[in-house]
Every structure is written in structure tokens, then in C-alpha cells.
Amino acid sequence: MELKIPDLCLVVLVGASGSGKSTFARRHFLPTQVLSSDYFRGLVSDDENDQSASAAAFDVLHYVAGKRLEAGKVTVVDATNVQAPDRAKLIEVAKKANVLPVAIVLDTPTDVCLKRNAQRPDRDFGAHVVKRHRSALQRSLKYLGKEGFKRVHVLRSESDVDSATIVYERLLNDLRHETGPFDVIGDVHGCRAELEELLTDLGYQVQRDDEGRAVDAIPPGSRKAVFVGDLVDRGPDTPGVLRLVMGMVGNGHALSVRGNHEEKLVRALRGHKVTVQHGLEKSLEQLAHESEEFRRAATKFCDGLVAHYVLDGGNLVVAHAGLPERYHGRASAKVRSFALYGDTTGETDEYGMPVRLPWANDYRGNAMVLYGHVLVPEAEWINNTMCLETGVVFGGKLTALRYPEKELVSVKAHEVWYANDRPLETLVVQREPDVLALSDVTGLRRIETSLLGAVTIRAEQSASALEVMSRFAINPHDLLYLPPTMAPTATSQRDDVLEHPDEAFAEYRAAGVAQVICEEKHMGSRAVLLVRKEGGAIYTRTGRAFFDGALGDELLDRVRGAAKPLFDEFSTDWLLIDAELMPWNAKASGLIREQYAAVGAAAGGALPVAVEALEAAKARGIDVTDLLARTAQRSANAAAYRAAYERYCWPTDGLEGVRIAPFQLLAVEGRTFHDRSHLWHLETLSRLEGPLFQQTRHLVVDTADPAAGVRWWEELTEAGGEGMVVKPLANLGGRVQPGVKVRGREYLRIIYGPDYTSPENLSRLRKRSLGRKRGLALREYALGIEALERVARGEPLWRVHECVFGVLALESEPVDPRL
């Protein structure tokens, strides 16, 4: 005996104690698929037969069943389930997860049950219990279908039970084996002429009957048309559209899901009482001229349409009003209703139309979802979904999307077929701003990157970043990238410095990098420049706008003006550039005043006076020689400290004095450049001309013979430079540091304090540990590149934002800020 059940369902076994449910379940299902009430009683009470633990046991059982069904796992409940209220709870669990409940009844005769129980010492509860189960079961049998079980299998004898086999059937909406390619066509609404034209444009050959009526269209190659529903109503020739589509579907040339208009038309044609409005009157009138036979066929066709299809191995979902991921391939009244009507609030607007929720904004699924129903001015992507209802019947156009090519094809309406009782623009659903969900960024996250595989962001890191991101960062729409942190080179063992280029060159040589580029480090503030043909942003390492209001706009205008050659060369509407913005005090003035200037002033005030006093004491013949020497040295260090930070500050007035040193072209429309040599980047960006821009001095060094590089660093830092950054010339990624900084001896006074160069201080500071910083640098770099690649591929904003947010989250990690 074959028991057919859907390949995703909740199987409820029904039978008296001793009817053989557990044996049956063991034979046909995996142990993990079977949830037995005995087992759960044991779980909560240490005693499988403790009936007083039943309530708690079923609570847990229902919870586990819900989780399994949510995950799309067939689940079998092994309990007597002879009482309707017990079954109702299970049906509720199934409905909540939008899967079908199925009942398999083991109607084993009472004497067999009693015999079996007698063989089990733990079941000493007597015959009356089994008899009670049996009579409850008998009373239930004929109501199981009504209770909501989609299939009911009854096994009436021991031999039925023994011979039963389970056969899985796919759901009606499961067309994963249909791999296309497809031409997905938006709402037709009775516009037959436009449909014929569109099909022809798509390469279909329209077939006609003796009367010249279109009855089929033969697709080019192995393609297939997929209609998103609402074939009918409002337009001039609903019967003609139905005739054509019915022919195509019947001949395997097309698929169609059901729209809300088909739903209502069927009800009207079957004689149910419906309000005839919104174009239904047109269909009914037109169909009245058709033969009874055609009307019957049309009714049957429309009534047979499924509410949504899952196609191409699960990569494509078509539903009339769209469908969130949790409903894909599921079956319930709720899923059906969503597919037909969308997510409505239950409210209506001033025109009496339902207020709709923009489900696509929240869509985060992998499958592409194509739908219609909601009027849009242009078909456009929102989070891997696209609405194809471009209003042909209202004088707009009929649109198709070629899948998997993602090409749009459309034909204009021949005329306005249906005048609306409200202005057209109010029908168009306003596109929301790019909406990001809290769940896109919070909690423990694993972000897949092309360079490093999965990068993990801990929940507390996300929490810190959330505050900074939401209170201070610019609009995520413009925040496409955040620069990674950069580790310093390994600590030098020389007795006079903390950092020296030798270690940087040695590190890359050991990693097999033959050539590196040394770039002068500009002591300013890191700036990312998103330059759009209109708009854009210049922002800091944590995503804050550099300059507020008009000043920011003006700076952006100047960059945009200079970037004309780049816009042309890359034929793009935007450029994303990594740069340093000088002077340092343009952004950090508060910090410099409160921190660096204060230290300099205090040291400069105290130490010379101390030296003076010590000299006076020495002149009196007091032995203060050592203390005097030390203090004089500290006084000199303090002067050097002041000189070090003052070098990087100069007065600015508005944008006067501001300079930008661009060093990497991160991305343009459709492309990233992180695999290009750094020379290419510097050369390309050198075309940004004008007093605003500062070139970055650089030198290519052979890691086998780095002497020239060392000399260059010495010259740079002796002249007061901050130092340099050493990067693999070819711009590698992965496990090799994307760059290390080698900072000058004097510059590091700002970071480590005026007296860091004294031998006893240096020897302690040398114990600094770089591991964490280096790990962060790699992960942040990988996240940054991943963000750029996602931008270039045109992925939804949330996918880009996830990476950008990840960089900020990692930056909240406590590492030694002096590194």
C-alpha cells in the first residue's frame, strides 16, 4: 500500500496505545525525524510513562517540531493523537510553519493493541485505556479532513501496516526541475495585442487558429514564458489573452501563476456573489460573447493556477504579489494569500485601496523573486526582486525579464485601455529609501569574503558599531567602503628606533613578494571620496562626513570638476577613491588642542624651569649631575615633540589650505581595481590636477636588495616626514599584509610620548605585540574588498552595508591605539 505524502509536511501518527506507531515510524523515517511523546516525557521528567509530565512534554515537542518545519524538515509526531484538541495543536504548528499536515492512522484492532501492551512491563495501565483510545479514534476518523489534514491515510489491519510504503510527492509549487531559460512576463490585464507584440519581440512564433485568433506561441530554443498572473480584467480582450496563454500552458510553452484578478474572476464565473469592479466588469462582458465551452475551459484554467512557483533549483521564485523567503516552496492559506495580495496592513487609503507593506525592502533571500501586482513606473531591482507590473492597461507598458540574462524587454501600450478612477501617479507605489534592517548588522555575524573566506563579527563588536554607525555615519547609500586599519612593521631591534624599513622588506621577502612599493605617508586624516556625477560624500574612517554642509559640497564639487577625465575614461557615473586629507588639524583640531598642544605646553613650561633650577644648584656645588643631564634631555625631547606635531598642522580657512592625496581608485560603476598594481593607481589618480591635489611620492623596491628603500625612508623621515607605507607592488590580498607602515623616529614621539627614545623606555616599548593588529588589518581589508566587489556586481545595499558595518565593528576591538 503506497502512502503518498508531500516532500515537506508534518506527519501526525494517530493510533491507540499498542497500535504499532513507534515501530511504523522506525521503519519508515529517520530517528531524528520522529518526535515521540514518550521520549519528550522522559526528557522533562526522567520517566517516559509519567502522564503528569505530558503537558510540559508536548510543549517541548511542539517547539522542536516548529523549529524543524521552519527549517524545511519532514517531521513525524509519534503520539496517540486520538483526541481532536491534541491534533488541533499540531495542525497549528504546521500552519505556523506553512507546511501541510498529513495524518496516518493506525486503526489496529483493539485485541492486537492489548496483546502488544501486555508484552511490555512498563505499560500496565489496563485495557480500559486502550479501549478509550480506540473509541476516541473511531469517533475522529471521518472528521480528520475537516480538521485540516491535507491527506489522511488509514491503515485498517496489521497487514496494511506491514505492507505500507511511503512515497514522497513534490508540492504543486515545486518546479525546481524546470531550469529555463525563462521569459517572465508582467501583468497583461487583457491587453492581447501588446502581449502578441511582446512575445514576437522575445522571439516567440504566435500560432493562430482558422479565425486568426492567437492560440499558442512557440518559444525560441528551450525557452519558456512565465506569467506573473493578472492575465485578465480591465483590458480590451481578456478572452483573447486567456486563449493564447491557455494554449501556451497546455502545450508546455508557458507557466502561469494565479493573480488576485483570476481568483476573483473564478468566483464570479462560478456564480459566487462578488462586487463587480476594478475591471472585472470588462472580463465578464467580454466572456459573455464567448461560447459556454470556452467559459468553462477558462474557468477551469484560472482555477487550476497555482499561487507561486519555485523554479530553477530554487534560484527563481515567481508569485503574483511577491513572496518573502520564508514562504518559498511552502503551502498554507497564509502563503497563498501573500502570493495573491501581498503584505497588506488591513488599512485602506483614501481611494479605498489596501495599504501595502513594502516586503521587498526586507527581502534578504538568495532566490530571485519576480512579481507584478503593484504598479511601478519602471521595473527595477530591489534586493534581488523585481516587479514587472508597468501598467500596460493604464497606458504604460508590458514588461518581460529574460532569465537568467536579466535583460528587460518591453512594449508600449497601444492606448490607455482602462481609465482609472484615481490619478495614475497615486497608483504608483513610492519607492522607499534604501531600507536596511537591524538584523542585517546586529548579533554574531559571519560574512563570506572572496579573500579570506568567512570573517566573524562578534555580537558585542556589532553593538558598539551600531551606535557609531547610526548616530554619526553618513547615509549608507553613500557609505560603500570603509578603509581597513594598517599594522606597523615588525618591531626593530636596533637600539635607537622602534620601527625600521628592514623588517618590512624582510617580511615581504619571506612571503615571496619580490617587489614592493614604498609610498610616502601623509600625516593627515584618512578620507574616502565617493564622487557621483551628482552628489556623493567625503567621509572619515568611521563614516562621518568630513565637512558639514556647504563646505563639504564645495570640496566635492572641486573634486568632481577635476575628475572629469576619469569619469570619461571609465564611462561611469561615480568614482570611489581612497585618499589622505591634509592638514591633520582640518579634522583633528579638537584632539590636537586638548591633547598634543596641552602636553607640549606643560612640558615646555615645566622642564626648562627645572633645568634652570638644577643648574643653579649645580653651581652651588650640589651634586645633581645625573638628574640635570636627564632633565636636559627630557627638555630637548619635549621640544622635539612639539616640533613633531606642529609640522603636520597649518592654518586653514574654509577650504583654503586643504589638500587631498589620492592613492587608490577603489571602484567605479561595475568594476573594482584592487588587483591592479599600485603604480597603476598612482598614475591613474595623478590625472586629478589642481592645487587641491597632492601627489604621493613613491619608490619601487626590490626586496632582495632593499638598500635604496632604506635610504629613501631615512631621507623622508630626516626631513620631518611621517614615514612610509610598504605594500606589495602587485597589490596582493589574502594572507599577506596588504601594507605595513614604517613610521619615522620623530613622528613616533607624538604617539609614544616625548621621552620614548630614552633607552630604558625603548626597551620596554619593544615588547609591543602586533598579532592582533595584524589579524584585524587582514580581516578588515578582506571585508573592504568584499564590499567593493558587491558594489561592482550591483548587489543590494544591505549586502554591501553588511561588509562596511563589519569593518567598523572590528575597529571597536581593543588594540593598542599606538600601533
Binding site: 579634522k587 644648584a617 638628574l627 581593543p814
Partner: protein
Amino acid sequence: MTTTHQPATDLGHLLHKHPDRAQSFTTSSGVAHVFYPKATNEECTVALLLEVDPIALVRGPGSTLTQYVNDRPYAAGSLLTVALGSVFRTAMNGRSESYPELANTPIPLVIRIPALPHRLADRLFTPLGWTVEITEHGERHGDVTLTGTVRLSDALKHLYVLLPVLDGGKHYWVAADEVDKLLKAGDGWLSQHPDKELITTRYLARKRPLITSALERLADVDEVEPEELDNALTEPKISLAAQRKEAVIKALKQAGAQRVLDLGCGGGALLRELVKDPGFTEIHGVDVSAKALQEAARKLHLDRLDDRRRERITLRQSALTYADTALAGYDAAVLMEVVEHVDPSRLPALEHSVFTVARPRTVLVTTPNVEYNPLFETLPEGQLRHSDHRFEWTRAEFQEWADGVAERRNYTVSYVPIGPEDADRGAPTQMAVFTSKGGKN
């Protein structure tokens, strides 16, 4: 410190430090050196030089740059005070076995402190009989000279108490015995000082914990002051706060709201009022600042609240610029003094989160009415009420925004003034009451 009391070298006796020797003492804040640049019968100068180990000064993960490199090793502050109290303890107590009379006599003294945070120096030292001269090194530090005729022990006590007070921060945790130290060192002069409250508060002020929050580390990355980022806890201290809460609760009651969202709850000022009323059966406070939520939990005494009240309260971190489905299904949402902390460019995202995703039946939004600002006497002209306010709206501007929201999101809106109303300028706070047009949540 110089005296012209004659014989001037008696200063060495009073201090118990010989004028012809240089001495060093190890103290908990560093090595203190005492020597005499001048020691004649007419004039004697003693110098105290504290060598601080800057690298040992700060330890621990999560320290910010500010804690690594700062003015501690150079400026006179609590570190110097510790050295002073240790090296000159006997003199400070006014005890001198050999010169008891001199120790008890005011003598002419000149004290030079070459790097001292000087802002309050004049104000605090002058009432104690000192003439104060300041040569500024910059905004914060100055070379300060005090001239006066004062008992040596009093002079040392003045320094002991006032150096850290001027500095405004102590380098160590303030323990209970600090009060005793203050009372002892302030004996005989502090109680008469016109600024005794200021001195007491600042002397006992807690320094920020050494282990800083992630937020401060991020501020470090961006090279801004942590205070610029961390202002979620500061509530504007205007008497309006109580009236605002009252008006909000009244509006919630009128709307029949039982399940209420406090969006941007901060330290929980409104939550504490809501909890008192059992009519609010579910109270869900969210804020973007984890620190603010901790503060709210602490002030609500969540850990020792009885189950019935505890179960009514949920505190969660969330951000109104992100869509948060956990906020859906409530009767009402309150945004009390929140929108003005959001950049105008981010308001559409907030609008979506609140009015479409959360979509409670009632939404209350309060915000300052900028027209009223000139009536605040202490508020400088043109300045906003809080440094983090991204804007403050006129009544017309607020209504333009709120009317637009209502139209776009299918709500009706009415306006309620909060606080004393001025005929021309309106009330200091304005509130919009949004009501969903549909009957359902």
C-alpha cells in the same frame, strides 16, 4: 618655593631637608627630588622635581591614546600632590621640634609652579592670602607664581588640596579615605573658603575609569574627543523635563495605549514614570547606546524588581535608522526629544522604521521649538539647546515635516504645546500626536 625670612636657610629646618644636599625619595607617583638652587641667609629656594615614569603610568587593554600620552608627567596635579604629601609630610603637619615657633609663624613665601592648569588659580588662591601671577603657556597650562606671607604648613596644605582641584582629575580611584584626607589638609582654612563647595566637589571628583568603552576607542580612531561621541547620557537639564513626561503620559492615556515603545529611552527617565502605572502593561525601551541602556536598567532596579513589574519591561539595543521588526505590534511609540539627534538626511529612514515597520496606532514625537530659545536666559544667542542637536525646528518646520509623514504613512496628526506658552514664540517644547488612519495595528 622661596622665602626671604631671615635666616632664610631655616627653611631647610622647617622642611627637614638639608639645603646643601640633593635628596631623592621614591614615592608611589615617581621619584621625587629635593634640592636647593639657592641657599643664602637672605634668600633660600627649595625645589621639588618629580620624575614620573610615563610608560608605567598607563596599563591595561582598551586604553586610548589620550591615556598613553598626556600632560601627567609635566603638569602639577595629583601626582605631584602625592609626592608633596610624602616628602614634606612633617612640615605640612606644622610640626617642628627644633623650630616650633617659626613653624607657627607666617613667613614671606614665593611659590612657583611652572606648569599648572591655571583656569581657577586666581579664584581659589587669592582668598587664602596669596597674590597670584600667571604667565599662560596655552589654553590650559600656565606658569603660576603665588606670593604671600603664610605659615609654611598652611602653604603646603593649600597646595596639597588645590593642585588636584585645579587639575580637575585624579590619577587614582577616589576612595573613602579621600574625604578624611581633605578634611585634614583643609583644617583651618577650607571651611572659610568662599569656593569650598567647588573645591570639595572637584577634589572628590571621580576620574573616568581607565578601561574605556569601545565607543571611546572608536573616537580615538577618528581622532575626536570621546565626549563628542558619548553624549547619549546627558539629558538637557531644563525644568521642562517633568512637564514633557507628564504631557506624554497624558497623551498615551488619551490614546488608550497599554503596550508602549519608548524609542530612544536613554537613561530611562520616561520608563521610570511608565513603570509606576500598571495601565502600561508592556513597556519596551530601546536606545542605540548600550551604555544608556545599562544606566536605564540600573535606575529601574531591574535586577531586584518583582516579577510582575519586571515582566512588563523590555530593554533592547536598536537603532531607528534600521528597520527593526521586533518593534511591530505596539499600541504607541514615544520619541521624546529624539528626532533632533538624527541627521536630517537620515530622517526618511527613521520615518520608515517608526511609521511603516513598527507602525503603532499612536506615535508621539516631542522636539524643541527653536522659536522659544531666546527666552532661555542662559542660552547664548543662536546656540542650540544641546551640542548633539543636529537641528532645532520652528513650529512651522516641525509641522511641515510631521504633516508630510502623516500623509505619506497614512496617519493623522495634531499638535500639542508643552511648557509655558509665549504669545509670539509658542511653548518651549512641541509635540506631534500621530494616529494611524486604519483601525488595525
